[in-house]
Symmetry: C2
Subunit: 406 residues, 2 copies
């Protein structure tokens, strides 16, 4: 986590220089809070696209959130050592000049790349959103690879991918990206095939394939590509009391069909007296994790990089739940708070297997001491955390309108 220039280390005198691309997002903001609390010099970079996209689809954050420049000021108030730097920059990762200026200012030891269009449904709305999702995501990561090679070849890139890159292959999903098989009598170690479920998920596949190729060609850059499951919740260690909202510390909480991931939507449906909307049979199984666990995992991975010049692919989730079982878990937690909730099945707007085998390896994070919150406990906490924001919910925003098939 250190630069190899002794002069700079003295100047820095902390945990290192961290750059968060997508600092204004759902994960980016709590990650910045964590990095400041751990003594990093923190550089943020964002173009405000998440706010624009959510607004474009008629959504809004259920939580009140500070604006980007307020957030920079909040972080500056929370520094934990003399000379600790916090600087938020404005710019697009898919603009090479803006990204270059960012890297030249930040001179990072570690880069967290979260600056991507993160919604499956958004990517399936139209030709325009499909192209925007793939082009922005791919171009941003591509420019980052070339500029790292030129400007900061020793930095460690922690890139956010998704468990959705693997799809539901019907066999175990290994960790690391490769599997050993025999085919027509010959043994080989091959990339594990990807069967992503939306143009967004495919954009993450393409990022991973570009990153793996750069490693294969000997570019000498150090990568951790995180295959993360859907994240839920709004609380991290940096948000201890009930006055987090007043202090502007909360992260965003979306519940529209595009940017509201399934547990976040269920919890807000429960709190606002709506039925939980399960798409199809609800047998779709994925590995989930709480926001706190996601932030903790990214820090652990950043601070324990793989061999220099290599690409480490990590599966990041706590445990597997079907969508229907998730809905039931939310119901149970709500009942214990005195809230009675109904489960409704909607016709599935997506094209996905609703009953399938699902098993994935997860060894890298537990070996670093990461455990993660059990889902029922996490959901109970999340319901408490989100309850103050239930009154402002607009139920019209929950309904899915984007269909995978014409």
């Amino acid at each position: 986590m250190m630069t190899d220039n002794a002069g700079e280390m003295q100047e820095c005198n902390g945990a290192g220089r961290a750059l968060v691309l997508g600092a204004d997002g759902y994960l980016g903001w709590p990650l910045c809070l964590r990095l400041v609390a751990r003594g990093y010099d923190v550089y943020g970079f964002d173009a405000g696209l998440r706010r624009r996209w959510v607004s474009e689809v008629g959504g809004r954050s259920a939580t009140p959130i500070a604006d980007y420049m307020q957030r920079e000021a909040l972080l500056q108030q929370r520094t934990v050592r003399d000379g600790q730097r916090v600087e938020f920059m404005w710019g697009h990762v898919d603009n090479s000049e803006e990204l270059r200026a960012c890297l030249e200012a930040a001179r990072p030891d570690v880069i967290f790349h979260l600056a991507e269009q993160p919604s499956a449904a958004y990517s399936m709305r139209s030709a325009h959103t499909a192209v925007e999702s793939q082009v922005r995501n791919i171009a941003g990561t591509m420019y980052l690879l070339w500029l790292m090679r030129e400007l900061c070849p020793d930095a460690h890139l922690v890139k956010l991918g998704t468990m959705g890159e693997w799809g539901t292959p019907g066999v175990d999903i290994p960790e690391g990206g490769f599997f050993d098989i025999e085919y027509r009598g010959r043994a080989a170690r091959l990339p594990f095939p990807k069967q992503a479920g939306s143009f967004y998920h495919l954009s993450k596949v393409f990022d991973t394939e570009n990153i793996q190729a750069a490693a294969r060609w000997g570019w000498g850059l150090t990568f951790t590509d995180v295959m993360q499951g859907p994240v839920y919740g709004i609380r991290t260690e940096e948000m201890p009391g009930g006055d987090c909202a007043d202090k502007g510390l909360l992260t965003r909480l979306d519940y529209d069909e595009c940017f509201g991931t399934v547990i976040n939507r269920f919890v807000l449906q429960a709190l606002s007296g709506q039925g939980l909307t399960v798409y199809g049979q609800g047998g779709q199984t994925r590995g989930y994790l709480a926001l706190e666990d996601s932030i903790a995992a990214m820090l652990l991975l950043a601070e324990d990089p793989p061999d220099a010049g290599s690409c480490r692919i990590v599966n990041q989730f706590v445990d597997f739940w079907s969508v229907l079982d998730l809905a039931k878990a939310v119901c149970r937690a709500a009942v214990s708070m005195g809230i009675i909730v109904e489960i409704k099945h909607l016709e599935n707007p997506r094209r996905e297997a609703e009953q399938h085998y699902y098993q994935a390896d997860r060894e890298i994070l537990p070996a670093l001491g990461w455990e993660g919150t059990a889902l029922p406990e996490g959901i109970a906490q999340f319901l408490q955390d989100a309850r103050p924001f239930a009154d402002g919910i607009d139920p019209a925003v929950f309904a899915p309108t984007t269909r995978w098939q014409k």
Copy 2:
């Protein structure tokens, strides 16, 4: 190959309406000549990027070629039936409005999509060319998928991919895109893994994955995705005599490091008295085919589409040769013309296996009666065809300057 509107069929009264995206390219132009000779109404679409890119890297076509509008006029002179339409349009596939106008004018029964940045070395020159290669290729194919769904869902898309999408996996490469394996005791049919060798090759992988996804999601479009080996030569059936150049019929013949594929470069090196430059040991093995065989194969595939709504992945090549054996084959053919040629080994600017197992299935095209020219015969013909253009060769253009690794 017919529209399902009887009125239009009467109006058309021919083999069908064919649209060639990238009509001005190395393959696009001979394909248009073939389609006109077969009685198709032929619509071309091109933005002149190939000419611009070749010029940008200091290259030029060894053959004299007509300009785009001259080519339209040449095709119009070669129509074989009354009322046969030929129309060349200008536009970019990655501009949705330009592509929309093209599809609305052409109302195609079959679309040949050759309008992509086709060079591995070009894609590896800089961040800019890497992004341009991937963004243009992916956005063009993506807009095409959405616009086909809206405007011509019954058209058959013949999309040009590359055998390079598979890389050199060390096991047999199946045809069709899938393979059956067992992993940890469970059997599965999975996409065959791709390990492409450049950012260009990766862009073709991404196109294939987007196309396969659209088929998986039930978009109802009909696809043939052609995994083609490197093509060589300049002659097709429509260029019978020695006066093809005077008539403006020839296709382009590039020999620069970016757009000159290996056999084209070797033949022009031989004819201009240069040594043949083999990268590294020369054990790199691929499946090659002659220009005439490529054009014939695309016609056969177009006229025998797969099941409606499905995606057929075809391996298109004649036979396997290592680069060193190719060089020797060119030497032998040259000697028989009285030309003595030297083989030189250059340090390999690419990152690729130089000794490896290589075997790929190829059953779809032979089942349609396609055989292909044996390589020694094809090279001997090509040397004769290219000889008139040897005087104008600029030897400086042969040298590789783009390196895969910094």
